[in-house]
Every structure is written in C-alpha cells, then in structure tokens.
Amino acid sequence: MSVHKIKYKKEEEALGKALDSQLFRRLLSYFKPYKLQIAFATILTITISALAAVRPRLTPIAIDDKIANKDLPGLQIIIIILLGTLVLQGAIQYIMAYLTSWIGQKIIYDLRKKVFEHTINLNLKFFDNNPIGRLVTRVTNDIEVLYEVFSSGLVTAFGDIFTIIWILYFMFTLDWKLSLVTLSVLPILVYATSVFRKNVRSSYARIRILVAKMNSYIQEHITGISIVQLFVREKKTVEEFEKINRDHTEENKKSIFYYAVFFPVVELLGAVAVGLIIWYGGGQVFSSYISVGVIISFIQFTEMFFRPIRDLSEKYNILQTAMASSERIFDLLDRKSPVVDPEYPVPAKDVKGNIDFKNVWFAYNEEDFVLKNVSFCIKEGERIAFVGATGAGKSTIINLLCRFYDVTKGSITVENTDIRNFNQQDLRSNIAIVLQDVFLFSGDIKSNIDLGNDLISNATIDESVRNTGLDDFINSLPEGISHKVNERGSTLSVGQKQLISFARALAYNPKILILDEATSSVDTETELLIQEAIKKLIEGRTSIIIAHRLSTIQSCDKIIVLHKGEIKEMGTHQQLLENQGLYYKLYQLQYKEEFKNA
C-alpha cells in the first residue's frame, strides 16, 4: 500500500468517528432549494396514509351495514367511493414517486456540479496525491449513493417516524399500563440496535477501504494492461486481485452476519411484545379490566410499531452507505487548495512577458528541496532555454511559473507583480505550454487543438497544423482534422500526439510560450520544419524552451544551466562555451557522441 493510501486510510477511519448528526444536518441543507416540493411531498404522504385509512374504515361499513342489511344501492355507492379512493391513491402515489425522484435527481445534479467544480479547481498537488480513480468515484458513484436518501429515503423515513409517534399516542390513550408492559421490550431493542449499528458501522468502514483498494487496482491494471501483458504478469496480477477481492467478500460476509442476527432479533422482540400482551393483557381480560377489542388493537399496534422499526433498520444499510459517501464527499469539498486566488487580484491583461524569479526555493514534499535559491530574470520578448540533467528541476520551474504549485521561499514576479497577486486563471491565460507529458482527450484532432474554444478560428487551427508539419498526416486521413481521437490518443503515434499538443499551444497564440521537451519524439526533419516555422511566430514574444538536444536552443538569448536544483551557469551559447563549465562539457559530449564517426 502506498503512503498516500495509508494516509488516506487513517483519514477515513478518523472520519468514521465524526458526528452523524452533523453530517446529516449538512446533507439536509441540500434540500433547501426544494423546500416547496418537499413540503408538497410531505402533504402527499400524509394524504396517502389518510386515504389508506379510509378504505379499511369503509370496508366494515360495507360489510356490516350495507351487505348485512341487503342494501344493494348503498353497497354500490360504497363500492364507487372505494374505487374512487383507490384510483386517487394510485394517482397520488404515482405523483409522489415521481416527485421524490425529481427532488433526488435535482439535488444530485446540484451536488455533482458543486463537487466537480470544486475538484477541478483544486491544485495539482492534490492530484499528485490522490489516485484519479478515487476522485472519479467521488463525483460519480459516491453521489449516486446519496440519491436514495435524497429521493424517497428521507420522506419515507419521516413517514415511519410519524407512524411510530402516532401509534405510541394511541396506545397510551387506550391503556397506559398495557402500553408500558408492551414497551418493556424497548430497552432491549434499543440495546440490540446500538450493538448492531456499532458493528455494522465498523464493518462498513473496512468494506469502504477495501472497495477503494479494489477499484484503484482494477483501474490501474486496465490502464497499464500493455505492461502487464508484455511482462507476462497476468497470472500474478490475477492472483493479487483475487486476494483483494477475497478480503472484500469476507468483510461483506461478516456484515451479512450482523444483518442475519439483527432482523430475527427485532422480529423476536415483536413476538415477545405480543406474547406479553396475550399473557398479561389476557389475564386482565379475565379479570374484566380490559376488553378483547383493546387486546386486538394492541396486537395490531405492535405489528404496526415494529414494521417501521424494521424498515428503518433495513434502510440503515442504505443510510450507512450514504453517510459513508457523504463523509467522503464533504471531505473533498472541505479541501482547500493551498494555492489560492487573492481577494483583490491584479488584472493580468498587460502581461508582456517580463518574468523574475527571486531566490526561489521549492520542495514538493516538505524539506526535500527540488529548487534551491533559483534567481533569474527574463525580459519581454526574450528566448530563454533551460538545460540540465534529467531530474534537475526544469519542469518544476515551469510548474511554479504557472502557479501549479506555490514557491516554498522566495518569489516569482511577472511584470513586477508577484504572481500570487494575480488570479491563477488570468495568469495562465497569458501562457501556453507544450507539456512534457503529452495528454490528449477523446474527441477529434480539432477539439484537441482548440480544446473547445470558439474564439480560435479554423484558419488559426489550419495554420498551427501547418506550422507543426501535421498537415501531411491529417490530409492522409479520410476524415481529416475530424479524425477520431480515442482516450489518451491511443491510436496515434507518440510523435503525432506530441505534434498535436504543440499545435494546440500555437493555436492559443499566447504572450508567453513554453516548450517542455516539445519535440523530443519528433523526427529531425519535422523538428527543423517547426523551428523554422515558429521562428517568425515567437519573434517579440517571450518563450521558454527546455530541451536536451542542445542544437535546438543554441540561438536563444539566454541559456540557463540547472544542476540538482541550482543554477550553475547563465549566458548565451558563446559565453557559456567560453566559460568552459558544465554547458561546455555537455556540449562537447553531445558533439563528440554525435559525430565521432563522421
């Protein structure tokens, strides 16, 4: 299990102890916009129970009065009334079922919107530490689980509680002594319920963790299926999966046990209550303190009393899952992004590309500094290159400039304004990056270039396609630029993907262009073509280039050599060569390697 999984587990367990009522109140707050509909649904529930009571009351009238008195017309009238109430009841029930679903769906939609919006706006650090599969579950399945609570669940639960109170009232007004005798089983019931609840709760907590584990395992081994197969690990993988799956099943079987014991116990307590009524109440009948009618009513009441309790416990299953889900959802909603927008942001319209790093220190994890005291400045319209061994921190500098993460110490300014004073989105809208890790969305080539931005014209797209040498490939496709792109672009060659993501950056026509190993998987000819094409494009525009192939960066205005997170050298190609330092060594090596056979 990975570190963040362990951390997660701890959080999850701690959460389990959070107050249910607090959680519940928060859940309830989502009902607020639908107060009217809920009030209406409640009225309908009450109407239904009233109507349900009408029929049993009419039945004895029909039988005792009309039939016994051979009053056929009277019987017919009652039959018509009976039919009428039945149809009415059906209609109301239909409306009610639809209305509760409607309420549920609306709330779910609202909540989902909120969770998605919140998550997508969290910063990258959060995404580094949380498996995507788990986040997807929050937005999809976890919210889905709440549907039952938000729809029929709450209204019927209200109904159940209402019924219980109503019955208690009738019992006590009928005969309080017999009521007390009947309810003497109640403490045992309360005790049994609390034992059940406690066990089921902890069992659910464990199941939850196992489900999460299982899902991430499936997810990861679906996305990494090629590796599994190429390394002939299918058997091992299946074995590992079976182990997780087994744990999950066993834990579930344990919770079955609790249910299997609990429900019969509730029934039994009900039977004991009835037994008490017959034994004690019956005795009273013999001493003529109570009528038989009261006994019959009490027996009926007991049954009516225990059914909602049984129902409520059955719903406890749903409720429990819902609570667990909402805990997780609220936990996500409570996550604050450590990278926040300022209250009064400086408008970022006039960004020209003057960038200043001042004594920047940065660590992804606590004290493990990846950048150490990095200072440099870039002037508007300059072309800057970063070179350095892999893992030196080049991509990290880009991450900081875009404010994907905040610096640990020091500051970054753009146009002399600390970037923490801009809105993140305003800042980024001035920048376009070709990321080192190429990512394509499913859709088509066009939508991957413009990312759905209507402001980018077809002409712009065509031009950026041409400038990245993609036109030959696209013209060879039957659907051209509408060629379908699968998840992560799985049916394109790696170079083609990189070119598409390059075209994307060009199409966005940014003030600051960042190329992080943007042509590493592209053939030489295309690479040169692009270099030629963008020469004009990037003139007068600030651009930052990261490349391992020194040939691509020699003409830059400034080359910054990074080594283990520190800036070692800075200057033009010529200056750095004359310096005879790190860059010189790198250059020598590459030059020698490349041409020793020439």
């Binding site: 995404f127 980024r428 190993e517 041409f595």
Partner: protein, 582 residues
C-alpha cells in the same frame, strides 16, 4: 431475463447452499404463517374466556414460533446471501482475469470508465439480484401460494373472481417492465459517458489548467450531467408506475370481493364472515406484491448489467495462444534470431497499410537500429514481435519458428520492451523495477546503475522504497524513462527493444546509459528506435522506415555513403551543430 442465463454456471457451483437456502426460507415462511393462527386462537379463547392457564402457553408458543422462524431466516441469510457474495467474488475474478487476456485492440476501443463501471456497478447489480432478489422472490412466491391456498379453500368461486384483475395487472407490469429496461439501459450509458468525462478531465488536469479550460469543461460536464438527469427522470416516470400498480391489484381484488361477495350474501349463498376473511387475507397479499415490485426492479437492473458483462466475457482474446501444443521454444531456449517475411499490417477499422511487405532479418545477438519519420510505423513494427498485434499478412519468425506457434507466455518472457510512453504503477520504485521476478536488492541496484537511474533514486529520502504517483507522475520525464529501462533489463530478456527510450534523457546521461547498455546487449538481440543518429550509429544494421516500407538498410557508414534519407538526416543534425558552432 434471457440476459441472466450466463449466471447459471455460477449458481450451479453453490447449488447446495442455494438449495438449503430455499429450504430454510420455506420453513421460516411456513412458521410465520402459523403465527396468525396462534394469535387467532388465543383471541378466540379470550372471547370465549376458556382457560386462563392457556394464555401463557399461547404467549410462549407465538414467541417460540417466531424464534424458530427467525433462526431459519438467519440460516437463509447465511446461505443465500453468502452464496450471492461468493458468486459476486467469482464473477469479478473471472471478469478481471478475462480482461487480462484481451488484446490492445480491445482497449483501444473501450474507455477505462466503461470497463470500471462493469467491474463495479454492473457486478453489484447482478449480486443484488442474486442475493436479496432471490431471497425475497422465494418469500413472496411462497407467501402468495399459501395465501391463495387458504383463499381457495374458503371459497373457490370468489377466489377466482377476486383474481380477475391479475392477468391485466400482469400485462401492465410486463409492458412497464419492458419500457423500464430500455430506459435503464440509457441511464447506464449516460452514467458511463459521465464517468468517462470525469476520468478524462482529472487525468488531463494539467492541460485543462494550463489552457484555462476549467469553465468550459465544467459547462461540458454539466451538460452531460443534465443529460444523465434527464434520462433518469424518464426512467423514474416509468418506474413510478410500479408502486401504484402493486396495490392496485390487491385493492381491486378486495373491492371485487366486497361487491360480488356482497351480492352473494344478499342472495344468501355466502356469509359476512367469509367476506371478512377474504378481505383480511387479500390484505396480507399487499406486502408480497410490494416486495414483488422491488424484485422486478432488481431484475431490471441486473439483466442489462449482466448483458454488458457477458458481452465482454465472451469477447475472444484475439491473439490466439499456441500454448503447449506449439513449437517447443521457451524463454530460456530462444536464441533471438528474428525474421520478418513480407509482413504487412493494418489496424482494424482503417484503410491504410501501416507496414507494407516488410522483409527483415535480425541475426541473434545483433543490434538493429530503426529511424524514420513520425508515424512511419516504427512502434507498430516492434509491437508485432511480442504479438501486441498480429500481422495482417506475412509472418514473423523467431529462431525459424512462426511466432504464432510459440507459446505466448514464452515468447513474451523472452522479450524485454521499453515502450515509447512510460507506464509505471503507483508502487515502490523497487517493485516497479523488479516487476517480473523476485525482488533482489542487489539486482535492482545493478540494473538501475545500468539504466542511469541509481544516482537519482539515491537522492530520494526513501530511495528505492519511494512510492510513485499514478503512472509515475511524481518522477521527472527522464526518471520515468530510465525506470522503465531498468524494468526491461531486470527481466534479462533474450530480445531487448527500446522504443525511443532515451528521448527525455539528457545527452550526458544518454551517453552513460548507451555505454552501459552495450554491456547489457552483449549476447542479446536488440532493437533500438531513435530519431537521433547518435543513438543508433553503432548498431550492426540500421533501417530507415518511410510510410511502412524499408527505404534504406545497412550499417551507419554504408547508409552515409548511400546519400539518401539517412544521410540527409545525418547532415541536418550535423549542420545544426556546425552552424551554431561558428
């Protein structure tokens, strides 16, 4: 319902458990239906004030009945529900195991979101049907039968009349069910679409943030989410019928009994008491009917779910494994001579041959370099060797044997591949490197030194125990590639394939790795794809791919002399350096 047939073999495995469950449930229902009789008798005795002593016995008896009934209910849950969990377990294992067998082509067409939905939601729906679904339907059916028997024994004629609405209601139920099925399929599809969308958005979060597309994506998501809501409401409109329908049946029956029974009473052939009894027993049918409606909704969810699962489970693996019947070559005995004979390849559902009649011989122990334009088919070619795809035409031989006749496992065990795009698991670096075999710290160190990774990892506080993010997200680009190289070398394969595996590595590290690799490649056949001549120039043979055809072939010097494509690339790379030099 037909969609649920593939479940039979699974049920069969637990037939004794399920049979026992049926038995237990029957006993408990039988006992429970005795309960009203006991209470009825007790009340009769109370009315006639027979014997006070008996009361205690009645009380004990009713508790006893429920106790035994409850015990059997306990046993039912311990059998049927447990069996359903076991079947869920088997089904999920089989599903996952089958996924492991399916080829790349399958995954290119499916989205991860869909497959996840099958493995989680769909299987859950099937299990819900198997456990609670079966348990409640048995209960319902038994209760109904017992009640019907009682009704018929009271008065068969009235009983028949009372059941007149049944066929109509059944038809109604059927047609509602049919429509619900279609709609719930649509709901599931919309759910999948939503999952896929979320999945992609979170996976591509860096791009979305870089290009400030949050607002747009949120809008898109809300549209999909609204569509999902619409589909759900359409389903709810249908499902809302099921509740009223269920008690319509008992309600109508009761009214019919009162009316026709009433007329009979007026005619004198029926007593008032009979009607009362009918009303009570028909009333008892209400609950089973509601349960019945619930079972139906479980089936409605399970059937399409099972259909989706079976569709995948019956998908042929596509790459046929010769297994043991094939040629007797093992990962140990393979020497590593590779030959392509007139190999053509075309991806499914496309119209262009990516490789065209490629002939190529790679002697055992030699090194082949491949260079070529973006999209010229380099990765495709090397993917044919471990049979990620099978050739469309022609054949590929290893040590003279058609690879389709070699056991797939042995074939793949003999090949170590570093894919063009690194994929790492969210596990420790050590586990990622020692992916194929036993973990040996010594070998991990050795291998990671060769891949030029050792120094980097040593700087991490947790060293090789460092846990990676998903897909290795917490490593730099070059670190990922080198981990991936280390993993391939750890396998000690006879054939080593590097697909542009040094593209994210700086020059000096690359030089070091290449030097180390020279050692590693001794005695192994290796194939190196690169865009950089410097990476390839020492290969025994280099091919230049262009549009799926080998345009040039030979050692570095031969190709230079040829003054063709290779020479051109070479000159360009050289020129670049020289111009800048001045």
């Amino acid at each position: 319902m037909r969609d649920l047939i593939p479940l039979f073999p699974y049920l069969k495995k637990y037939k004794s458990k399920i049979f026992l469950g049926f038995l237990f449930v029957s006993v408990s229902i039988f006992l429970q239906s005795l309960y009203p009789l006991v209470i009825g008798n007790a009340i009769d005795d109370l009315i006639s004030k027979a014997n006070e002593e008996l009361l205690f016995k009645y009380a004990l008896l009713s508790v006893g009945i429920i106790l035994t009934g409850g015990f059997f209910l306990f046993l039912t849950r311990r059998t049927i529900i447990v069996a359903s969990r076991e079947i869920e377990n088997d089904l999920r294992n089989d599903f996952f195991a089958h996924l492991q067998k399916l080829p790349k082509n399958f995954y290119n067409e499916k989205t991860t979101g869909d497959l996840m939905a099958h493995a989680t939601n769909d299987i859950n729906n099937v299990r819900n049907f198997l456990g609670p679904g079966i348990m409640y339907s048995v209960q319902t059916v038994l209760r109904t039968i017992i009640t019907l028997i009682i009704l018929f024994s009271i008065n068969a004629e009235i009983a028949v009349i009372a059941l007149v609405p049944l066929p109509f209601i059944s038809y109604l139920v059927y047609s509602v069910m049919k429509r619900t099925y279609g709609r719930s399929m649509k709901v599931q599809e919309a759910f999948s679409a939503m999952t896929t969308k979320v999945q992609e958005n979170f996976a591509g979060i860096r791009v979305i943030k870089s290009y400030v597309r949050e607002k747009f994506e949120i809008e898109q998501f809300n549209k999909i989410s609204a569509d999902y809501q619409k589909k759900n409401l359409a389903l709810a409109r249908m499902q809302a019928y099921s509740f009223p329908m269920m008690f319509l049946l008992t309600g109508l029956s009761i009214i019919i009994v009162i009316y026709f029974g009433g007329m009979k009473v007026i005619n004198g052939t029926f007593t008032v008491g009979n009607i009362a009894e009918f009303v009570v027993y028909l009333g008892q049918l209400t609950f089973p009917m509601i349960a019945f409606g619930w079972v139906i909704s479980l089936v409605q969810r399970a059937a399409p779910a099972m259909k989706r699962i079976s569709t995948i489970m019956t998908t042929e693996p596509g790459i046929k494994d010769a297994g043991k019947s094939g040629i007797n070559l093992t990962a140990e005995s393979i020497r590593g001579e590779i030959e392509l004979r007139k190999v053509s390849f075309r991806y499914p559902k496309t119209e262009i041959d990516i490789l065209r009649k490629v002939d190529l011989k790679i002697p055992a122990g030699s090194t082949l370099g491949i260079i070529g334009y973006t999209g010229s088919g380099k990765s495709t070619l090397i993917n044919l060797i471990p049979r990620v795809f099978d050739v469309t035409e022609g054949e590929i031989l290893i040590d003279g044997a058609d690879i389709r006749k070699i056991s797939l496992n042995e074939l793949r065990k003999s090949i170590g591949i570093v894919p063009q795009e690194s994929f790492l698991f969210s596990d420790t670096i050590a586990n990622n490197i020692a992916y194929t075999g036993e973990i040996s710290e010594e070998r991990i160190t050795d291998v990671s030194k060769k891949a030029g990774l050792y120094k980097d990892v040593n700087l991490f506080p947790e060293k090789f125990r460092t846990i990676l993010g998903e897909r290795g997200i917490t490593l730099s680009g070059g670190q990922k590639q080198r981990t991936s190289i280390a993993r391939a070398i750890y396998k000690e394969p006879k054939i080593l394939i590097l697909d542009d595996s040094l593209s994210a590595v700086d020059t000096s590290t690359e030089a070091e790795i290449l030097k180390e690799l020279k050692e590693v490649m001794k005695g192994r056949t290796s194939i190196i794809i690169s865009h950089r001549i410097s990476t390839l120039q020492n290969a025994d043979n280099i091919i230049v791919l262009d549009g799926g055809i080998i345009k040039e072939q030979g050692a570095h010097n031969d190709l230079i002399k040829l003054e063709g494509i290779y020479y051109n690339i070479y000159m360009k790379q050289l020129l670049e350096e020289e111009i800048k030099e001045i």
